[in-house]
Amino acid sequence: VFVFVFDWQVEPNATIGEIKSMFHKSHVLFDIFKLFIRGKSLKDEDVLQHLPVGTTATFYFRDLGAQISWVTVFLTEYAGPLLIYLMFYFRVPFIYVPKYDFTTSKHWVVHLACMCHSFHYVKRLLETLFVHRFSHGTMPLRNIFKNCTYYWGFAAWMAYYINHPLYTPPTYGEQQIRLALTVFLFCQIGNFSIHIALRNLRPPGSKTRKIPYPTKNPFTWIFLLVSCPNYTYELGSWLGFTLMTQCLPVAAFTLVGFIQMTVWAKGKHRSYLKEFRDYPTLRSPILPFIL
């Protein structure tokens, strides 16, 4: 625990952000940290005179450790699966038996699956660059290793079987694949609609939080029943992909993703309830009426 005593003259309308940069100027090694008063963390936008301080103020520091920007993490963790899957699709050497190198699968569902998988991750990359507005600038550095292992590892595991020379197409053939594709596309559009709706809640450069509501877009009407429909649609997309490929590793990936998204959805739902007294009571975190 560090104890600093300062004798700075600060205007009452100074923000926490300004105080932090004043501190950083004199103590250069401290650049990413959080300030606390009475156990509550402070945002950069908070103004000094609105805080519970008198003529002197006592701030507590928490060093957040090595950080990395959310955008960097997202771009890295999504670019991996895109490229890795394609390596398996094109049957790059040293993956399968040499006689299959650079051949393509004879099953058209395998080509379809590659298109869907690639589309999904291209969409995510573009959303990261142009759609999402992040609340936090950074996250702990170790997250990038954890996240990339998860995304890249699962992508390789799924892609290995789908593009394998001994791959078996779905049991119910064209019917199954058509249904799966419909579900997948429906949920991709849905997921994108939700991302746009959430972006429009927040003016550029701001970090305000508002309750999301259904818009004119029918894909957003699910907000009536669910707090985090982006996760609902994401689950739907992967269920579609599982049905399309009939591949156990894909089912496993869907399950693990669902568990993680449920944890996030519950957390978000709880913070909505805490922050907004008039939050709609009909909504569930991720699955209408169920979860």
């Binding site: 079987y161 789908i162 394998h164 001994l166 791959y167 078996t168 049991t171 490929t245 009939q246 591949c247 156990l248 590793p249």
Partner: protein
Amino acid sequence: MPSSLKARTSGTTELLYESFLSRWLVIAVGLVRAYLARGSYHGLYYSIEKPLKYFQTGALLEILHCAVGIVPSSVVLTGFQVMSRVFLTWAVTHSVREVQSEDSVLLFVVAWTVTEIIRYSFYTFSLLNHLPYLIKWARYTFFFVLYPMGVAGELLTIYAALPYVQKTGLYSITLPNNYNFSFDYHTFLILVMISYIPLFPQLYFHMIRQRKKVLGHVEEYSKVE
């Protein structure tokens, strides 16, 4: 852990540990008797096969104990240890008949037996608030030899099982199949063996640290006096 819960469960827990203790004593006695009867230590696994299976599997309860808080050990470490023992008992020794007559099996069975007898005595006496220093000392000292002994026995057993697993394709799934999935138990066993490299030192050093904490106090007091 809330003291009310502790009071309610301590009676049953003591009985439970005494029963666990006596079971491992049964195994120990079984081993000794079989050895004396046969005059050699080959094939002693068969004389204690059934009790070993049931008691080691029963140890799954221990994970629950840690989770509920009756025992102060960590859930993760205990869970891991119990899982690895259950894996060795059922998925290796029971499943691959050919390794059951290996000496390495005896090595880990003896290591486990001695460890568990000391450990359950420790827990039982602790709960009764009458812990002889000897038991505490033994619990935090014998592991120096018993851990490596057990690990050696386990690794040698898995290694011995490898050729039979590969030959028979035990627990393995091959392509093509309707769920587009495959699993090679032979490779899996090799990965398990490799995982001992990062994991065993962590457990070993954890025990050494625990030893300093638990036995260190007594040495300090005696210095003061």
